[in-house]
């Protein structure tokens, strides 16, 4: 039942956010709803980690280790982004526009929560489509030429991807027609049935879904919409899009890895490694030439999606653990990065890297946050992303994928220097008098609070891993291995 309650709360919050009463009501409702959802998700995930099953509707709505992890991330970033929105969106002059923002925010969170909870693959497709369509308005929120262009590119490319993936899902369903144990068609029965399905059909379905949902997850070469959408949307939305939406889509692709491995005749690991490395490589070099710091973080998302897919392809218990560990660290760190980018935007009112110098003097909190976010996402020790990237590289060596591991390490290093080079220019140096940002700016209190709350897990996970979370990660990695 708890799962259905988790889905119901954001829907109720979306309705309440539409009520035309006071400017503070919609943000308060959204923040409360997200916090309640987070509490319920933690309760459900703890039960999963303790080994008991959490099922709402048998064969339709249920969670296992992998989905509990994704659910936890959606709820966490959903809450921090709601808190950040409170101060960040306060400048919006139109109360009506603001209410619509929060209503859409809740619907978007609802759609993202639904994807890991659904156990029937065809319904998962519907959930994924909803996440896309319900975020279009949020990306176009600023209503500028650039925002509309980004929203257009986003909707057309990702909806096209969805339609292509649809055929893949139908092919999977058809290939296993009428053979479901107990009449149920779920991710788990799909694994059981995979050895009986023709490998050619399985490979076709996988390629259709990889191409289709790869476009939604921002995998190269269909990533072109991602830096546009993730740079033009309001910063809290960027945190949701980059931190968890791409992860949710990648989760669906990763669900197919054990299915294809169970078949034993399709080299899914090879596919995952090639597509993953391609994304990491292209993104690493694109990071070097960016001129907009939100695009910098957006390209870093493409890079990390590639790293996760490569880790899943490396395989073995350690590779799969590295993949889910990276999913966790990326979602937490990337959302922090976009909060820091949002704080910087509030402080300097420009997205151009070249226009920002000496940020640490004009707005110390934004400057420190941006620097910390950059160091964390680039993968510097002893922060969380370093540990997961290191574990992936180590598993690559252990599984004897020397070429893939070497390339991955090289690309990660290129991206590391690319990110830090740009951020270094922005944070240090003398504030230029021409840019007129020499007066110190005070950030809204909710934004500073979000930055502190979002930074805490990144630091803590670098030195300490709570036992239930470790157990959940192991179960999630196990979900990829079967």
């Amino acid at each position: 039942m708890i799962l259905l309650a988790i889905l119901a709360v954001p829907l109720i919050a979306a309705l309440l956010s539409c009520l035309p009463v006071g400017r503070r009501v919609a943000p308060a409702v959204t923040l409360t709803s997200c916090t309640v959802v987070l509490a319920m998700v933690i309760a459900a995930a703890t039960r999963v980690a303790a080994g008991s099953s959490v099922v709402a509707i048998v064969n339709w709505v249920a969670i296992d280790g992998l989905s509990a992890l994704i659910l936890l991330l959606v709820a966490t970033v959903g809450s921090t982004a709601a808190l950040f929105s409170w101060g960040y969106m306060a400048h919006e002059p139109s109360a009506r526009h603001l209410r619509r923002y929060y209503a859409n925010y809740n619907l978007f969170v609802f759609a993202m929560l639904s994807v890991p909870m659904l156990a029937e693959p065809n319904l998962v497709w519907t959930g994924v489509e909803l996440t896309t369509i319900l975020s279009v308005y949020l990306i176009a929120f600023e209503n500028t030429h650039e925002a509309l262009e980004a929203a257009w590119k986003y909707s057309v490319l990702t909806v096209m991807g969805g339609a292509i993936a649809l055929l893949g899902f139908l092919a999977l369903f058809a290939a296993t027609r009428g053979q479901y144990p107990g009449g149920a068609y779920t991710w788990h029965t799909l694994i059981e049935l995979a050895p009986r399905v023709s490998p050619a059909v399985l490979a076709t379905a996988f390629v259709l879904i990889l191409v289709g949902f790869g476009a939604k997850a921002g995998l190269v070469p269909l990533h072109t919409w991602l830096p546009d959408a993730h740079s033009q949307a309001p910063s809290p939305i960027c945190a949701l899009l980059s931190g968890i939406k791409t992860t949710v889509i990648l989760y669906v692709i990763l669900r197919l890895v054990p299915v294809l491995n169970a078949s034993g005749k399709v080299d899914v690991d090879g596919w995952a490694m090639i597509v993953g490395l391609f994304s990491v490589g292209i993104a690493a070099f694109l990071i070097i030439q960016v001129t907009d710091y939100k695009r910098l973080f957006a390209f870093s998302t493409v890079e990390h999606m590639g790293i996760i897919l490569t880790a899943a392809g490396i395989g073995g218990a350690a590779g799969h653990y590295g993949a889910v560990y990276q999913i966790l660290n990326h979602a937490l760190t990337k959302s922090f990065c976009f909060f820091a980018a949002g704080a910087t935007l509030l402080a300097v009112d420009t997205r151009q890297i070249a226009d920002v110098r000496g940020l640490i003097r004009t707005s110390p909190s934004a400057g420190v946050a941006l620097l910390f976010g950059g160091i964390a996402i680039a993968g510097a020790p002893p922060l969380a992303v370093f540990l997961s990237e290191f574990s992936i590289l180590r598993s690559g060596m252990a599984e004897q994928h020397y070429l893939a591991t070497g390339l991955l390490a090289a690309f990660v290093i290129v991206a590391f220097f690319g990110i830090l080079y740009h951020l270094n220019l922005m944070v240090f140096g003398q504030p230029s008098s021409q840019t007129a940002h020499s007066i110190p700016v005070k950030l809204p209190r909710s934004c500073v609070l979000t930055l502190i709350l979002a930074a805490a897990p990144i630091i803590i996970l670098g030195v300490y891993m709570p036992q239930p979370l470790h157990r959940l990660l192991e179960m999630a990695a196990d979900g990829l291995s079967r």
Binding site: E149, A151, S231
Partner: protein, 226 residues
């Protein structure tokens, strides 16, 4: 019994043929209205095919889907587009596309051949009646992707997406006629929300930017002057 099955098979072949023709139309027509009419024709062929497969394969679910789709695709979605997209866009007679009509038709032809070749890698159709749906649906999907790529205007791009979805469904009905009803019902509603959201996006774009020629939107390209 055998006769009626053969008749249903022939009729389904006819519907699939018309579906393919309208896919070609989608890729090649120059008029905005024509584009929409081809989409309506294509959707009606899809509905007819679902109906015939429902009868031929004794799949009552498909009949329900056909009934729902017959309202949604040819009536509700075009109506929604008319309501959300500014009127003057539909009056345009010469819409731009990157490649001219003869080359578009040739590419569509090549894509159809490719679809016939690749349809062997999909799961087999549920019955001989549905065999033709596989290559034709796949061709519809490919031509839809092609249309989306070469069109420079917002509405024809959107209709390209609908074409892709129609192609995927024509295939899907043939290989998976027994999808649970709740899922079959989710697809048309999903399309409805897509039409609504992108239609509104088109309207806002027209109001704020003054054009819906999305092919000319390049301000976010890498290296574009800011």
């Amino acid at each position: 019994m055998a006769n009626s099955y053969a008749l249903l098979t022939s009729l389904n072949g006819l519907a699939a043929g018309l579906f393919l023709m309208s896919s070609f139309g989608l890729a090649a027509t120059r008029q905005m209205q024509g584009c929409q009419r081809f989409y309506i024709t294509q959707s009606m062929c899809l509905v007819v095919s679902a109906l015939l497969l429902g009868l031929g394969l004794h799949a009552p679910d498909l009949l329900a889907v056909a009934a729902l789709d017959s309202v949604m695709k040819p009536i509700v979605i075009p109506y929604l587009l008319k309501r959300t997209v500014p009127e003057e866009i539909f009056r345009r007679r010469e819409i731009d596309q990157v490649l001219n009509i003869p080359s578009s038709l040739l590419i569509a032809l090549a894509l159809t051949l490719l679809a016939f070749f690749l349809s062997g890698y999909l799961p087999p159709a549920a019955g001989s009646i549905a065999a033709i749906n596989l290559p034709v649906g796949l061709a519809g999907l490919f031509i839809g992707v092609y249309t989306l790529t070469v069109r420079r205007e917002a509405v024809p791009q959107l209709i390209g997406i609908f074409g892709i979805e129609n192609g995927a469904l024509l295939c899907g009905f043939a290989i998976a006629p027994t999808l649970p009803l709740v899922i079959e019902m989710a697809f048309p509603f999903d399309m409805l929300i897509i039409a609504l959201v992108i239609g509104i996006l088109t309207r806002i774009t027209q109001e704020r930017v003054g054009t819906t020629e999305v092919g000319g939107f390049t301000s976010l390209k890498e290296g574009a002057s800011k």
